[in-house]
Symmetry: C2
Subunit: 339 residues, 2 copies
């Protein structure tokens, strides 16, 4: 597999056309890919129309990757893990794109943004692409951006897409719904507890990795693994029919990756042989269409005059129990929807 | 506390006005309550307007109850449990309304409907009210109906509202979002596993009850309790700050109810003292308002001409990867939304 061609020149500096972006992405021009992602991240209506056209044009070239969701609380060592994991994927002949969802970044001004600088070696590799989290916008918007960025990266030729998220918000479910496999990084805590993982997330995981199983931590990590194993026995079998697997891993001592890659291979074999892989992708597309409907309706509404003022006013009435939520919403909508 | 007055006569038989319904509910007329619930369950636009007016008028009288969510898989013995639980609440001086959410009922023609006949003793009690699940409509609509029914029952004077759901669908999250406490009924399985509980639900529970801990089952139930206890230690502390409690219970042998009532008292003391009760209700109202916005927009759209045909057409294109979900949705919406 050839590495990415950095010598393809991009014609216009400012606002490239859809066909220029499309050619650029298909010709593996990284500047074009970056600009294409910037386009899908834009909230401007004419950019949205262009983005739709671009994505539609690239769709036939997208889809041919393994989409790997990775989550874990801050401090679990996601960047260190992804750097090692990504480099080993590249060694195995893959091209790796790393995308991030971080709904808190519009508040904290990009907590994952800093990750790019921490994944130095991976970021510098010609077969890797790291895109910091899209900032701003509502959650639905952020998810849309990441989903479309996945397609762009695939059309470009990346065959392993890592979508990471901080394990503190609602975005885990979103990542779960846009990836083929879901990997949860855990930390053995001070006592015998696993620290800080958000409710419901453990049950979405296909692979659970007790991270930082190095040095003195190894014993604690083994104990945590046993606990997690007995806990997940209580969980129901996920829709894929795959029984979640648990292991320890050390990114700094590079222990556990072989075992992880074997598990991933087994997962994808299982998932493809059982037809779950395709089924899941189709289900995800339909779910995405429903999300898109909601997002588009909200987007339209948010751009109507005085919508936010009217919303705030009714919100206060609801909190004071002067109005029911439905009646409040009816009153707002009758200003905007044609009868 | 006086029992419900069955002698209040209702003036019109067919279509009562909003003020008649309001008076009826406030005067504890059960026919008026039933008709009011039928009104909020109706999908007709003029009924929706009436329902909004009714709910707004009754809001100042609503809210003064403990809303108790109960879930568990079919076969866990929910009806038996609720009957015993409800009768004991009444013995303690409460008035009990039982509402049900069952998103499958429009397919199975009311699987919970049959429960009413199974909760004979409770259903016949003058201080109890059992309303079978609303049938038909989309999930959002079903949730709306239940939320508004809660308010109607509260305005009537019921101070303990039980909202039950089958533990097989998405409605558990909805019930969790409309109640103050969430109780999960579990069954000890054939082996040492807990059977069939849906992913993510265990982590939402404030109280976990291993049900049918009677006869030969008692030992298995105790063992299941120990397992659940060690599993939930791994879960994060819920927003209420309350650490979920686990116990065994037998509805037929009436063992475990005292302990359950003590736990419920402790839960509500904790929740009210820490300010979580009010905080949670406010958060629920705001979340409900957002849901209402989505529901209302979808409702409007579904009533536009050819919407379903257009949706189906685009859905096929999305599945064939000829169109991205966003672009498909844009094409549909430009027919309906004013620019």
């Amino acid at each position: 597999m050839s590495s990415i061609n950095p010598n393809f020149h991009f014609r216009k500096a400012s606002e490239p056309s859809v066909s220029e972006l499309m050619d650029g992405v298909l010709n593996q021009n990284l500047t074009a890919l970056s600009k294409a992602i910037t386009l899908v991240e834009s909230g401007l209506p004419h950019h949205r129309r262009m983005a739709n056209e671009l994505i539609d044009g690239l769709l036939p070239h997208a889809g041919k990757s393994h989409r790997i969701g990775i989550t874990g609380v801050p401090g679990v060592g996601k960047s260190t893990f992804i750097e090692s994991f990504g480099l080993q994927l590249i060694e195995r002949g893959h091209r790796v794109a790393v995308l991030a969802i971080d709904p808190t970044s519009s508040i904290s001004h990009g907590s994952i943004l800093g990750d790019k600088t921490r994944m130095n070696e991976l970021a510098a590799h010609p077969n890797a692409f790291i895109r910091p989290t899209p900032s701003g916008g509502n959650l639905g918007g952020v998810h849309r951006k990441t989903r479309e960025s996945i397609l762009l990266c695939e059309a470009f030729g990346f065959d392993r897409i890592i979508v990471e998220t901080v394990g503190v918000g609602q975005s885990e479910t979103a990542v779960h719904h846009m990836t083929d496999v879901f990997l949860l990084l855990l930390l053995s805590g001070a006592g015998d507890e696993l620290q800080g993982i958000k409710r419901g997330i453990m049950e979405m995981a296909d692979l659970l990795v007790i991270h930082k199983a190095d040095g003195e931590n190894r014993v604690k990590a083994e104990r945590a693994m046993a606990e997690v194993k007995s806990a997940i026995r209580l969980f129901p079998t996920p829709p894929s029919g795959w029984l979640p697997e648990v292991q320890t891993l050390s990114s700094i001592e590079k222990i556990g990756f072989d075992s992880l890659f074997q598990k991933l291979d087994r997962f994808f074999n299982h998932s493809m042989n059982k037809g779950f892989f395709d089924f899941n992708r189709k289900e995800q597309s339909l779910a995405w269409m429903k999300d898109a409907l909601g997002d588009s309706l909200f987007f339209w509404l948010e751009n109507q005059s005085d919508f936010h003022e009217k919303w705030k006013l009714q919100e206060e009435k609801v909190l004071l129990q002067q109005k029911s939520p439905f009646s409040a919403v009816s009153e707002i909508l009758q200003n905007y929807l044609p009868q």
